[in-house]
Amino acid sequence: MQHLWLIPVFPLAGFLVNGIAGRRLPKAAIHLIAVATVALSFAWAVKSIAALMPLEAAHVERYFDWIRVGDMRIGCDFAVDRLSAVMLMVVTGVGLLIHIYSIGYMAHDHGYARFFAYLNLFMFFMLTLVMGANYLIMFVGWEGVGLCSYLLIGFWFLKKSATNAGNKAFIVNRIGDFGFSLAVFLIMLNFHTLDFGGVFAQVANWPVEASVGTLTIVGLLLMLGATGKSAQIPLYVWLPDAMEGPTPVSALIHAATMVTAGVYMVARSSAIYLKAPMALEMVAVIGLATAFFSATIGLVQNDIKKVFAYSTVSQLGYMFLGLGTGAFAAGIFHLVTHAFFKALLFLGAGSVIHALSGEQDLRKMGGLMKKTPVTFVVLLCASVSIAGVPFTAGFFSKDEILVSAYHHAPWMFWLGAVTAGMTAFYVFRALFLAFFGKYRGDAHPHESPAVMTAPLAVLALLSLAGGFIPVPKFLEPMFPVAEAPENFSLVAISVAMGLGGIFLAWFFYVAKPELPGKLAESFGALYRLMYDKYRIDELYNAVVVKPLVEGSRAVLWKGVDAGLIDGTVNGVGAQVRGIGGVLRLLQSGNIRSYATWVLLGSVGVLIALGLAGGVK
């Protein structure tokens, strides 16, 4: 026993203390509790994993039977294997850094205790998700992080747009969760267990499905769940809106950890996907389509957080491309490096926003290099990493995915490489717009306090050097090694794409700043379309939301509720009133009419008795 349960329970304790007593605690106590509990769970995770090394097989701990139905037992089990060990390190490590950063970022907020309570609750559910040893525990965590995401997106609930964004995230995720729960039902039906070990051991004996079979359906349904949580086509629409939440939340939940839950889940279910090539192909196609599609949107956004949000969607697409082409380890590797550089991008953006007292529009930034030098340097680190400049973290992971894509289907590689170029372009566009040229806003920029810049520095280091962490090697026992040989020309192409993107961004936004406007004019229609995010939100509104709302209004409200239910209730009332109106006539107040009724009644009783043959 390693007492793995302690890892999620520490943040839960922090949540309970801050959630219940936070209003009466001083700020120092609040963030001390919040950070300390996460630090403890990080430490405990490190200790447990160190004790369990080399961790060849999963270490499962059963605490109690949760559900016992017939011969099926679903336990409250936690497990650690190499995959969840990687996730644990990312979640607790990056989580800890972001908690520390939040001390500075949220310092002036009234909901200080509430914020840290939610953040701790999120850590609890995320760790439950990662360590759950069966699909049901995973589902509990899965739903829990969704709840926390909702709570934190709508953290500033007085802002209408924030509550709307929270609702949108929650509802869109429900669609994905519907797929996930159907998949869980199917697994239960076919394997009579939900334990990962048990399911995968049985799957190993199933044949590879050439056409659509049970495993393919399970895989597709799990993928539907993943598209919800990990913001892939067609359910990605909630993530850009989720930027309404505080920036540390965007970094922790909507970049580094929660949105990667779908990637983790697909990787965890790799045994199922390997037997269902069609589902796996679907994962790759959706991932690639999302990566490309959202990168094009990211090219033209003006809100710095929106740029990074579409970038997150795009990078998640990359991860799915990796998984879908069979390079599970590469997908997880990219998850890890992405957690570093994307958390850093968001936290850096947060630092910029903090410096400008809430300004998020890139058009009102500029020239911040001198004012916020530390933020600039760390953002530069993150940008070169995501752009795939050689020997940074993003270079290694992205490269493995692209090589794997090439060996799967060359066209996937080319599309992925173009996407890599666009990624480099939009990230450096944001960087150049914010830090180069002349300042275009009217706030008084100032560098952020050390409590914010210190976590940034750590993440910057990880963004640069994180690629040397041998994640794929570590995961080798879990996933079959991708047989893709190193191919120098492929690497060169993707690096060239990245550098080309950086150069283009420099050319457009530093060398010739008047050019983008002209270009946008000459490609007006295309530019507007991309700027409006292909009007997908409007399409969903017209196709899904409108009919639902109108249908609810016309049928469910006017018809069922007002017509049927209210009609029944009111009808009963009206009937009672009518009968009462007749009966009221009996109660005349005339004593002799009452006496007459008594007489008639007793005569009636006597007659009845006579007919019945008298009293026996």
Binding site: G589, N590, A595, L599
Partner: protein, 103 residues
């Protein structure tokens, strides 16, 4: 007891008295008459009790009769007091004219 009056005669007499009481209660307007009709009904019932008591050779019926007579006496006292008060206030004993609680 030779030539004893049969039970049925008592019962018939009792029924007739009761019916008269009911009729008087229902159809007479004068409060005093109504009141007397009630007494008549009570005593019709008493007669039944006594008759059965004699017929069954059991004392229960007679005990009940005493109860009824006690209640009837109390009722007569209260009832007559009410009637007196009504007459003092309204100067009438017509039952339809004292329906002041109606409407």
């Amino acid at each position: 007891m030779p030539n004893a009056v049969p039970l049925s005669w008592y019962l018939i007499l009792s029924a007739v008295l009761f019916a008269l009481g009911v009729a008087g209660f229902l159809f007479r307007r004068n409060i005093i008459t109504v009141f007397m009709s009630i007494e008549l009904m009570l005593n019709a019932v008493n007669l039944t009790f006594i008759a059965f008591s004699n017929f069954l050779k059991q004392v229960d019926g007679q005990i009940f009769t005493f109860f009824v007579m006690v209640v009837a006496a109390a009722e007569a006292a209260v009832g007559l007091a009410i009637i007196l008060t009504v007459f003092k206030n309204r100067a009438t004993l017509q039952i339809d004219e004292v329906a002041s609680m109606k409407n």
